[in-house]
């Protein structure tokens, strides 16, 4: 909050700080310094007062000292020369009889973060390691790590490293843990502190003395240890059993991580450990802190990947609380979907139904999607609920229901009758482009069964001029074409109008291109058109929910107890809400649940065309690639050079920031040697974010 008159304040404070009357009065002096720090933390630049503050540092008042150090550490980097003046005071303080003053001086000496001061700091730090007060030793040990990172190039004295190793046996547990931390940083290039058998057993024996933060650190470092025999392994495991069910979630999580890394060769033991942490994890799910609950939920999702039945009996613990924030509710629903079985399905659906009318639109949509997922195994019950929701006539609910129905029909074709019946009349409430696209897709594919389909499409076609969404236009073209194939008499006229508009008046190249393509396709005859347009209507192989195989623990063990599981969901929602093609953010995961993130119905092989190049450009693959990149065509994969036929897979996509959908163009460049080059082009429209995966899928 840089308020007006910042300079005025600085001047005034400087006057006060150098006023001898203020300096002689302890309380006034301290209050003036307080004002400086307050302004500093509000964001006002106070660096001009550095020299006055250096003077204020020489005092017997510990509170004042602390305050001045806060200031000095923030601005030292801007005033390296003046900081030299502080060093003398700090070094003097390091000799102080009061251990608190000694540790304070030592800590701030190393916090100044000035490479030029290193030579003055080393001697007090070395003395600090042998100080008789534990609090000074704690600071000194970490001080060496700070020093090392300040000038990473220079080697830390081997004698210091040895001393740090010997301090692992220090009577104070915090000193011991700090030694581990410091050695990890200093020896980073060698892979961290050496974890051998004596050190491991020493650490394990002293685990009980540490507080929870220390225990977590020790458990984390021990992950690198590999026991020499099975007996030793089981000794360690039984020693750690109490920590595994610790009431403190950080310890429980760190212990489980350690278990999983120690037992990586013994899946049965890891599974038993997962069973063991069920209780503590569930307790963390009911913790008073919402953030802790969220963390526990995300980690339960990881566990469920290996033991789907782990929480089956406790499904009620995942019912959403009334006042819980949306992000917890959505995670809970994701978990609930995994827990469905024959006994609880009625109860679960009843509960989920209650969330569908949530005030928060995102929560409501997540609940509807969850019902759709359950619908893959219990379609009748779920369709009944979904159809009932359409009666509410609210745009966000209808949109989510139609999208869910589309996804459901793709997996379970037996639902199509009910869905076709339900579609009547819901176009009036649909507002957003996602929902309308889903409706259009359904009308195109099942047009012969929805009696009002042509009239619905006609409304869309009449309004195409004012249509803003690219995706809806593309979908409309395809749907009208498909409907034309099965109900030509009713559709012919409007198809003509649509194609005319798209070819003559539309400004977007993608829409125009596609319309032209369909126009030419129709010239080739109705049979040819049918072959191209009538692809698959469903893909039951995408997986029934229940039969999902359990993954081995090793798939996710590395990401357990890191930020990774907490971030996964947030990326998804981000890309959905922004809707711009951000596929760079998407990291392909081996576990990626395809049916969840990628809806195949949205990726269509729209166009496949061979272009023959009459002249062969004589150039190297590298220069060709560089030229392509200039016009925003990227290389996906290519065969090694000098192989025949030589292939390159290329792609490009539109980058419209506000369009929810983007068009992907995939291409294959084939060089056979003698024959002319041939390029095959696939084109499709895909959701932002999932585009990258769509390509791999398509190839």
């Amino acid at each position: 909050m840089p308020y007006l008159g910042g300079e005025e304040t600085v001047r005034e404070l400087r006057r006060a700080l150098s006023n001898p009357n203020v300096q002689s009065d302890q309380l006034r002096y301290r209050n003036t310094i307080l004002k400086v720090i307050r302004a500093m933390s509000q964001g006002v630049d106070m660096s001009g007062l550095f020299s006055e503050m250096v003077k204020a540092c020489a005092t017997v008042d510990v509170v004042q000292k602390k305050l001045v150090y806060v200031f000095l550490c923030s601005y030292a980097a801007l005033n390296p020369e003046l900081s030299l003046l502080v060093i003398n005071t700090l070094r003097k303080d390091c000799q102080d009889p009061n251990p608190m003053v000694r540790s304070l001086a030592l800590r701030n000496m190393t916090n100044l973060r000035l490479p030029s001061l290193v030579e003055y700091v080393e001697q007090p730090l070395a003395a600090g390691l042998r100080d008789r007060a534990a609090c000074v030793r704690r600071v000194a040990v970490l001080g060496w790590a700070k020093l090392h990172n300040l000038q990473a190039s220079s080697e830390i004295d081997a004698a210091v490293v040895n001393e740090l190793y010997s301090l692992l046996r220090d009577p104070d547990p915090v000193v011991m843990v700090n030694c581990l931390r410091a050695l990890e940083e200093i020896l980073k290039d060698e892979g961290g502190v050496a974890i051998n058998k004596p050190i491991t057993h020493h650490l394990l024996n002293r685990l009980k003395e540490c507080d929870i933060w220390g225990q977590c650190q020790v458990l984390r470092v021990l992950q690198r240890y590999r026991p020499q025999s099975e007996d030793e392994l089981f000794d360690i495991l039984s020693l750690l059993d109490a920590s595994l069910v610790s009431p403190h979630p950080p310890i429980m999580a760190a212990t489980l991580s350690l278990f999983l890394s120690l037992c990586s060769g013994q899946p049965a033991v890891s599974l038993a450990a997962l069973e063991r942490v069920r209780g503590p994890l569930l307790a963390a799910c009911g913790s008073g802190s919402r953030e802790m609950r969220f963390t526990a939920l995300c980690h339960i999702q990881l566990l469920l990947r290996s033991i789907p039945g782990l929480m089956g009996a406790h499904y009620k613990r995942f019912f959403c609380g009334y006042a819980e924030p949306a992000y917890i509710k959505q995670r809970k629903m994701q978990v609930l979907v995994e827990l469905v079985n024959d006994e609880n399905v009625a109860m679960l659906l009843d509960e989920l139904k209650g969330y569908c009318t949530d005030v928060n639109a995102e929560t409501a949509q997540a609940a509807i999607t969850a019902i759709g997922r359950i619908g893959r195994s219990y379609s009748d019950r779920c369709l009944e609920i979904l159809t009932g929701l359409l009666g509410l006539k609210q745009d966000h609910i209808t949109s989510a229901v139609v999208q869910t129905m589309r996804d459901l029909v793709w997996v379970c074709p037996q639902c199509s009758d009910t869905v076709c019946f339900a579609l009547e009349g819901c176009e009036e409430t649909l507002q957003d482009s996602q929902g309308r696209q889903a409706l259009l897709w359904l009308l195109g594919v099942y047009g012969e069964r929805v009696s009002s389909a042509p009239y619905t499409l006609e409304v869309f076609i009449d309004g195409v001029r004012s249509e803003a969404s690219l995706g809806v236009k593309m979908e409309l073209l395809t749907a009208t074409m498909r409907l034309f194939l099965c109900r030509p008499a009713e559709t012919q006229d409007m198809l003509g109008r649509l194609l005319h508009y798209c070819i003559e008046e539309e400004t977007d190249m993608c829409v125009r291109d596609q319309a032209l393509l369909y126009y030419r396709l129709l010239h080739c005859g109705i049979e040819e058109t049918r072959k191209v347009l009538q692809g698959r209507r469903s893909d039951p192989s995408l997986g029934v929910l229940i039969g999902r195989p359990a993954e081995p623990v090793s798939q996710w063990a590395r990401s357990f107890n890191t930020l990774e599981p907490l971030r996964q969901g947030s990326i998804e929602t981000e890309s959905v809400s922004r809707g711009s093609p951000e596929h760079t953010m998407f990291d392909p995961k081996p576990n990626a649940d395809l049916s969840n993130t990628l809806d195949c119905s949205r990726i269509e092989k729209v166009h496949s065309e061979c272009v023959r190049c009459p002249t062969i450009p004589r150039c190297s693959p590298q220069s060709l690639q560089a030229a392509m990149q200039l016009v925003n065509i990227q290389t996906l994969a290519f065969t090694p050079p000098q192989t025949l036929p030589w292939r390159v897979y290329l792609y490009t996509h539109t980058c419209l920031d506000d369009a929810p959908h983007s068009t992907l163009i995939l291409g294959e460049l084939l060089y056979t040697g003698e024959e002319p080059q041939k390029a095959e082009v696939h084109k499709g429209s895909a959701d932002g974010g999932v585009g990258a995966e769509g390509i791999e899928d398509d190839m």
Binding site: M1, I37, S41, Q42, G43, V63, K66, L67, V70, S74, R107, C135, R138, A145, N178, R181, D211, I212, W213, C216, R220, P247, P249, P250, A254, G279, A283, A284, G286, G288, S289, R290, E291, M292, T295, C298, R317, Y322, A323, P325, A326, Y327, M347, D350, G354, T357, V359, G388, L389, G391, L392, K393, Q394, N561, T562, L563, E564, R567, S570, T573
Partner: protein, 431 residues
């Protein structure tokens, strides 16, 4: 490993900023606030990333407590630490608010300096920290009429003063040293109950999460013994006889609690350190020993004029001696509800339509056991259809039950040793 810690007010003011490792740029606060405000919804996700910078935050006391860290650090540890930090600040400053943090920033910097060094958590124990913390807390006590009501006529002790206000425990722990504040200790049993009742009146889910908290202002307290009900049992196997056993499913204790007398006499022994600690946590799910405290009988219909009529009868099944306070029933209503007319059975109740949360909130300040209240709401909803009735409900009910626990857990006695000089006073605290 924590790289920076900062505290932001909900408006984005920088209250506290501390950079422990000097690795990432100083604009982290700005980046974080931008990300928070860019998102819609009631709360942004706990973890957010920006160019290799990972923000983990918790919300306590209306403030953002944020740590920046590396991707491989443990979320459990960092979230627990941030929660612990906010608890420490609350202990030292008395209460947790933007104002108290602003007034005590020097103290908080001091706390942070001792609790974390170079991004590694050193200690969060208030026993250790109290030796290092030198700054005194500045507490702001808003003037409140409640303070006056404790003073009886001509200064006489009134019956009312036996009950301490809930704000009695919101003062800094250290003031007792200098200002000669009272040596007090607060033991709270708090239970959070969540019950789901189906439309047919069937109990679908019942959960109780309880905790015993001790807030200690005694500068030197060597040992304290808390006696629970003797018939207290854990798990399903231990049911003895048919007596009014107090049963919970799972119990966990704070590290410092010694349990040598727990098995035989249900006594917890501990040496509380200054500040607030959670001594014991327990859970009970599914079979509650008593019926849920409230019963709702709704009737919902459309009248001829296209209005929505909701007739609610709410019965309190508590024993007649006890009462529930601050009862609030939230009834979700169809979208587009315009106006509400109400008929309530007594003037101290109130009801209002909250359009942004699409609900009618019915507030009852005090509800004695055995009573039955009824309310009639008429809602003007344009375009009301039969499907709109689906949007009505489920009804949420929040309430406080002073001096009553759902599990039946009670504190039999509380003994301190050494015996404190001077007369001791017992208080019952209203939540």
């Amino acid at each position: 490993m924590i790289s920076q810690i900062f505290i932001l007010s909900s408006k984005g003011d920088h209250l506290i900023y501390k950079d422990f490792r000097g690795e990432s740029g100083g604009d982290a606060v700005g980046v974080f606030y931008e990300k928070v405000t860019a998102l819609t919804g009631d709360q942004p996700p706990v973890v957010m990333s920006h160019k290799g910078l990972h923000f983990v935050h918790v919300r306590q006391g209306g403030l953002y407590w944020v740590a920046t860290t590396t991707a491989d650090s443990s979320p459990f540890t960092i979230i627990e630490f941030l929660n612990r930090l906010s608890a420490l600040v609350k202990d030292y400053c008395g209460s947790l608010s933007e104002k108290s943090v602003q007034m005590n920033f020097a103290l908080i910097y001091e706390l942070l300096d001792e609790a974390v060094d170079y991004g590694y958590i050193q200690t969060t124990s208030s026993d250790v920290l109290k030796n290092f913390i030198q700054t005194e807390a500045v507490s702001s006590r808003p003037f409140s009429l409640f303070d006056l009501s404790n003073v009886g006529l001509f200064g006489a002790e009134t019956q009312q003063s036996k009950v301490a206000p809930s704000s009695a425990a919101t003062r800094p722990i250290q003031s007792s040293r200098e200002q000669g504040g009272k040596s007090e200790i607060f033991v709270d049993v708090i239970e959070r109950m969540s019950v789901v009742i189906g439309s047919n009146g069937m109990l679908m889910k019942a959960d109780v999460e309880g905790e015993i908290r001790v807030k200690c202002y005694l500068p030197n307290c060597s040992e304290m013994r808390i006696g629970l009900n003797e018939e207290f049992s854990i798990g399903k196997s231990q049911l003895r006889g048919y007596g009014a056993a107090v049963r919970v499913d799972e119990v966990s204790f704070h590290q410092m609690v010694r349990l040598d007398e727990f098995d035989s006499h249900r006594i917890l022994r501990l040496c509380p350190s200054q500040g607030e600690q959670m001594v014991m946590q327990y859970q009970l799910s599914d079979d509650l020993p008593s019926a849920p405290p409230f019963r709702l009988f709704p009737t919902i219909e459309r009248d001829s004029g296209g209005r929505l009529l909701m007739y609610l009868k709410l019965r309190c099944d508590l024993p007649p001696k006890s009462a529930a306070i601050n009862v609030a029933a939230t009834i979700p209503v169809p979208k587009g509800s315009l106006s509400l007319s109400q008929e309530l059975s007594s003037p101290d109740q109130s009801a209002e339509l909250k359009p942004q949360s699409r609900a009618v909130v019915w507030k009852i300040p005090r509800f004695t056991g055995g009573m039955q209240l009824s309310a009639l709401f008429k809602l003007e909803v344009p375009g009301l259809s039969s499907a709109s009735l689906l949007e009505v409900g489920p009804v949420g009910l929040s309430f406080e039950l002073p001096k009553l626990t759902a599990t039946g857990l009670q504190i039999r006695f509380l003994r301190l040793s050494p015996v404190q000089p001077g007369p001791s006073q017992r208080w019952v605290r209203v939540p």
